[in-house]
């Protein structure tokens, strides 16, 4: 689907791996420069973590509202070919001349026919734990990764679909008016030659995604009223499992007191030594949004240091304290216990008077550590790029978009935890460097 447009003949293309905000920005920048971009995203839809957020700091703008125009530009841009539900399998060659094998997984849905009407979803009998909503609700075996996802095409999860697992059902096929269901669809191997440069932007996971002892002392997954920050973000979202009306998971009551615990798994020699970078800011953001939903809410933030170094960040925190009923305590929490009503109990030190106090809250939110994305070890082997000691992509200290291999660049959280503004500017940086390779010859 290459459009001639302003492309020079026999020109090299760029490959962007990762369809989150960093990958999207890099792809758009390259495409606007007239370079053909192949974009590969593992999930059925692009959007990444930003699509999971309700609002973004420091402006508290609606996340999807900023993201959606970029998503649609990506899918329509004549210079971008989007491979969603796909993965890079093999990379050969060197800077200026890579050849890439992409596995395009079968969705079992005809991409040209599906109009995302949703009838199949309504009828599908299989309930599957929803990963986008951080396991807080269930989706179906045929699904959109999230409501506003791009491409707006359904996908069948063949590990859960009754036809693939038990040779039964096929209701979706029966009800689809466009006859878009195609159980005979096969995985495809796409071979790209003439790839000049590659940008790695595969984002991040969170420490709760892997088994980690550090969360045990906080009762995560043992106490129902202890959630992680990203789970809380889904609860705050209007498109989330509680339609934005935050309710306790134990009894459905509205919480009146919420404790936010910082540095869970980060800045910790027993877990991850580094700082997860964005949690101080997003916690205040979440507390502000929660207050907007319910202005009787009392929020308590327990931190080691308040890291708010960007433009307008410190005053953001100050506003939280002044206008949103957030109290900040410099006292990292050692553990959470619960009382007989499943209310989390927090023990902390009040540095104003040196007293150790017990606080009973209705809900506790854990700001958990950012970790490298799933599959990064395999990806580093496929691409031949080095990872650092924390298994993020290794970059030189003064050139954070370069990797250990020429022609392969990186941006966003896959090499270091960072916020959206920084991811976006790095993406443009990576795009410029990728273009240099392609243009420079």
């Amino acid at each position: 689907m290459m459009s001639e447009g302003n492309l020079e003949k026999n020109s090299k293309s760029a490959l962007v791996i990762g369809g989150g905000i960093a990958g999207i920005q890099a792809a758009l920048d390259l495409a606007d420069m007239g370079i053909h971009v192949d974009m590969v995203e593992k999930k059925p839809n692009i959007g990444g973590r930003m699509a999971q957020l309700d609002k973004t700091f420091p402006t508290n703008d609606c996340s999807i509202c900023i993201l959606a125009p970029k998503l649609s530009e990506c899918s329509r841009h004549p210079n971008i070919t989007l491979y969603s539900y796909s993965e890079v399998q093999k990379v050969d060659g060197k800077s200026g001349n890579f050849s890439v094998d992409i596995l395009k997984r079968a969705r079992y849905v005809k991409e040209d026919e599906c109009i995302n009407c949703g009838v199949c979803v309504e009828k599908c009998p299989m309930r599957v734990i929803d990963e986008f909503d951080r396991q807080l609700r269930k989706r179906r075996a045929i699904y959109m990764y999230y409501l506003q996802g791009v491409p707006a095409i359904m996908t069948i999860d063949k590990d859960k679909c009754l036809w693939f697992t038990k040779n039964a059902c096929r209701i979706c096929e029966k009800v689809c008016e466009r006859e878009a269901i195609d159980f005979e669809q096969q995985d495809q191997l796409i071979k790209l030659n003439n790839v000049g440069s590659i940008i790695v932007a595969t984002g991040y996971n969170l420490i709760e995604d892997i088994d980690n002892e550090v969360l045990r002392n906080y009762g995560y997954q043992k106490y129902r009223n202890v959630v992680t920050a990203l789970e809380f973000e889904r609860l705050l979202s209007a498109s989330g499992p509680q339609d934005g009306h935050v309710k306790r998971l134990s009894d459905g009551e509205k919480p009146k007191k919420i404790a936010y615990l910082q540095c869970i798994g980060s800045r910790n020699d027993r877990s991850r030594k580094y700082c997860s970078s964005i949690c101080c800011m997003y916690t205040t953001k979440e507390a502000m949004i929660a207050y907007e939903h319910n202005n009787e809410l009392e929020s308590y933030v327990f931190y080691i240091d308040m890291r708010a170094g960007g433009k307008g960040f410190q005053s953001f925190i100050q506003r939280g304290e002044n206008d949103y009923n957030i109290k900040y305590f410099k006292s990292k929490i050692a553990q959470i216990t619960i009382d007989n009503k499943e209310n989390p109990i927090i023990v902390y030190e009040d540095l104003d008077n040196g007293e150790i106090k017990k606080l009973q809250v209705d809900l506790a939110v854990l700001a958990t550590c950012i970790i490298p994305p799933e599959g990064i070890e395999k990806m580093s082997e496929v691409l031949g790029i080095e990872l650092n000691e924390y298994r993020f992509v290794k970059t030189p200290p003064f050139d954070s978009v370069e990797t250990s291999k020429g022609g392969i660049f990186t941006c966003g959280c896959v090499h270091e935890p960072m916020d959206i503004p920084r991811s976006v500017s790095e993406a443009s940086g990576a795009a410029a460097r990728a273009a240099e390779v392609i243009r420079g010859g």
Partner: protein
Amino acid sequence: MNKMAYDLFLGCVIPARLPYLEVSSRKVFEKLGIELRDVDGFSCCPDPTGIELIDHETWLALGARNLSLCNNNGGVISFCSGCVETLKGVNYFINKDIDAMQKVNKYLKKIGKTYEGKTEVKHFAQILYENLEKIKENIEKPLEGFKIAVHYGCHYLRPSEIIQWDDPFAPVTLDEIVKTLGAESIEYELKMECCGNPLDKSDSDLSLQMIDNKLKAIYEAGANCVVVVCPACYQQFEFNQRELNKRNDSEYNMPIFYLSELMALSFGFKPEELGFNFHRIKPKELFESIGFNI
């Protein structure tokens, strides 16, 4: 395979104050076919909640002296968590720090001894956990009806870098042993909290408050007895219930067992053989109430 044999380090408290706990422990190991070798000339380990805190160097010297008396063939075990911590701790420090190793041996030389830091130290519960199959074979009376609040204590687990055994916050070994004996292990709030015994040296009121909190939580959870693996915890739990009842409105009457006592019971030994009459809180009532046939 050679018969398992360990040197036995008794410490101060059990042999001189709670000898009946020694009885059941020895009987259990005998039944399991594990030899315990008595060694002459041990001193106080010394107490990791006592002498270590006032003079670390003396603690190292006396501890190393105790270890130097050991056979070095199979290692040494103790029935006391405190002694285990001290002996493991001495090994840890002198193996980590060459200065400590040299200093300690300089002192030991004055009494004609040396120690190279190579004697393995284990808690008796470690050995039991490593022999669950053998234990199962010897059970004649599964402990049905026992609802046990397992109290791990602190020095059995921490500091994990020195003790190197069970998980410091979510341990399983003692629960596993208790379940193997056929009893139920009850989850209770404050399960991982300290009994407070070491605090008795500095502030006995605070120490009592700590054990009061634990007993309250244990009662609330519905346990009918407590199991410990440390004589300090044993004393803290057993000796203070009457005092607490006097001070507050509590009616504590909870039998406290050493792990080896329960194991000996399950092996078919009679309570008279095990010295239960020496317990301050007699377990007879408990046995009758759960119909444990003695």
